[in-house]
Assembly symmetry: C2
Homo-oligomer: 439 residues x 2
Amino acid sequence: MQHIDTLIHAAWVIPVEPEGVVLPQHSLVINDSKIIALLPTADAVGQFSARVTHRLPTHLLIPGFINAHSHAAMNLLRGYADDLSLMTWLHERIWPAEKKWVSPQFVMDGTRLAIAEMLLSGTTCFNDMYYFPDVVGKVAEETGIRAMLGMIVLDFPSAWAQDAQDYLGKVDGIYNKYHHHPLIHIALAPHAPYSVSDKPLAQVAAMADKYDIPIHMHVHETQEEIQQAMQKDPYRPIERLELLGLLSPRLLAVHMTQVNEFEINRLAEKGVHIVHCPHSNLKLASGFAPVHDYLQAGINVALGTDSAASNNNLDMLAEMRTAALLAKGVSQNAAAVSAAQALSMATLNGAKALGLAKITGSLSVGKFADVTALDLGGVINQPIYSPLAHLVYSCTREQISDVWVAGRHLLKDRTLTTLHVRELKAKIFAWRHKILNPR
Amino acid sequence: MQHIDTLIHAAWVIPVEPEGVVLPQHSLVINDSKIIALLPTADAVGQFSARVTHRLPTHLLIPGFINAHSHAAMNLLRGYADDLSLMTWLHERIWPAEKKWVSPQFVMDGTRLAIAEMLLSGTTCFNDMYYFPDVVGKVAEETGIRAMLGMIVLDFPSAWAQDAQDYLGKVDGIYNKYHHHPLIHIALAPHAPYSVSDKPLAQVAAMADKYDIPIHMHVHETQEEIQQAMQKDPYRPIERLELLGLLSPRLLAVHMTQVNEFEINRLAEKGVHIVHCPHSNLKLASGFAPVHDYLQAGINVALGTDSAASNNNLDMLAEMRTAALLAKGVSQNAAAVSAAQALSMATLNGAKALGLAKITGSLSVGKFADVTALDLGGVINQPIYSPLAHLVYSCTREQISDVWVAGRHLLKDRTLTTLHVRELKAKIFAWRHKILNPR
């Protein structure tokens, strides 16, 4: 008998690698924060003696969701402005509110709220882009979730930095603090082609090479953005990014609702990752990303929620369902983005995009135990012919019972183990009151 | 002090009539199955003495959802066939399974499962189309939900009837049994233009006039359906229905993903209702219904889930969210189908389509108390600037705590009061086993 930390017996395990496989009555074996075996429960009980054993007789185990595009702190603006187009929403509602309210405390409380929501909906890793990424790192460390801090870069000032050079100047310190951390990762996050000029973008490309880290950027979110760019430049934003050296496997191009065939091929050749945010794109009427075409071209497509201000939640299960459904509608092909592919987009493809596929994104031996359990035992889920179809087309986030990050049990039968919910709620109520009653 | 049955004190009430209104700290007063007042809680406590008082301090009250298109019994085939186009899905998977399995017992158990799911997700009324509508009526009566039984009509035989005349011959008996029932209503349900020929369709039109009941029909679900029709007819199916006298305020045209401008105007003039089923249309890649255009033309648009075999659940909250999001994407207008409009589609517009707007669909004095409560108190919902935006863009079905139909408390803090869940689950497990292991 081998002595190990944790044994999880589940009704089904979907490891994601290989895609589409559903293993009934299997057990996940965790030791020292990593997955050391995945085998039939009947075999596991004879081979391993665990410090903690979880019996989940009606549950499905999957890799934790990887939210490949978030602005976590904006959870404080959930439902603050709805039913508006991107530019109106940004210029008239969100940017003024951010200008007034964003501070280290706003980011701390907003991010803590977002992490509570993400753990309650099965997310084990988020790729963030926001002001005060140092604060995001602090809260992520405290709560034990995996996070990639996006070192935001903009031409214009914010509470966090004065100008592009000031934003870029903050990268070194945070990189040095975290680059050996098992859970906190760093990316460069130039906001968008329309908000960062050529010089800082070229610097971003060089810095990403130097540190060997990803570049996280909004690209081709709307038609309007492209039209405006072409009033100054003789080419589309994606070509400008290529000229500046940004098209590479380091780039996570978020949204990409506007694209032509030439560009799809170019993105594929260059190994660029696309982060699809279906709810945000629909809600802001930004356009339809041709996800089926991207996958057919061999592009890696991950999924993100975008912020709770444009979604209005951080529910990757719902995002995954919409991604699978919408791709069928947009491509006029009911076989496009199968349930198995949608789950890959929400997990392993995110890990690939973030450069973390060696350590997370699937329930594979050697990776960190970043795991989500869903209870399919309720009458509302019956009958079960395909747990995978249920997961993608039918389940809701409240079925997520447990979440582990690097083997640590962060959600235990829907109770958060590293967050004080009552205290957090009191802080959020105070923010709401302040934002609704500005002096 | 007036003595009454039930008093519900809620943090917010959204009555739907008038659209967009949110009443904080209001109470609903119910007596003898109907709503007799809706007033500030501060006033209600002094005016009414209730047999039962419910204090819902973090909850939102809305009219129960009206699922305007379902095939309830097909819940037994949830997840049985996915990622296939409509015609492949129907001809190769669903129709053969139905041919083998549909019986009064299948309809009884499947419908009971569907009603359990509908009550757990806040639906108080469903408009059904399936074989053995008499059995659907029996189960609906037993469980206390409001139902409209669709008297299905097809050219081809089923376990329920031999031919069109046989289907039509069953209408009288069921109509006579239920037409004075407060909760069970009757409609004619010719399946689709491609599955019912001219003579029975003309009979349906005449019979609907005679009994003064709605006609519930799949119309223009796919492009393929129209192309096939035009190989025999010199006109599109909708024109054929007009020639046969079916275009009127009695008609609920379900799906309507394929339409031209002329047809939109014609449908508006004729007062036809459209039932939009966004998840089903996306999943089967049937096309995008131009919902914003329909609403702009003054057409009443209701919402339906379609069956759990093509959805894969009966979650009206999720359907409403997708309807609001998808309409923005399809119309390229982020202001299309606001949260308030989406909620009307899921409630009052359904009642209008079913000819039941005088008795249900809004929290208005004089209507039956068909009511759903959602708990917005969880950390996952904070902060709350707009309960209406939360309801449409952010909530999930597990937040639905209580449901009343005609004042009867059918879901009580997420416990079903008229269904034996354990017994039901055992029956569904048996069906699953049988369907997976046919003799």
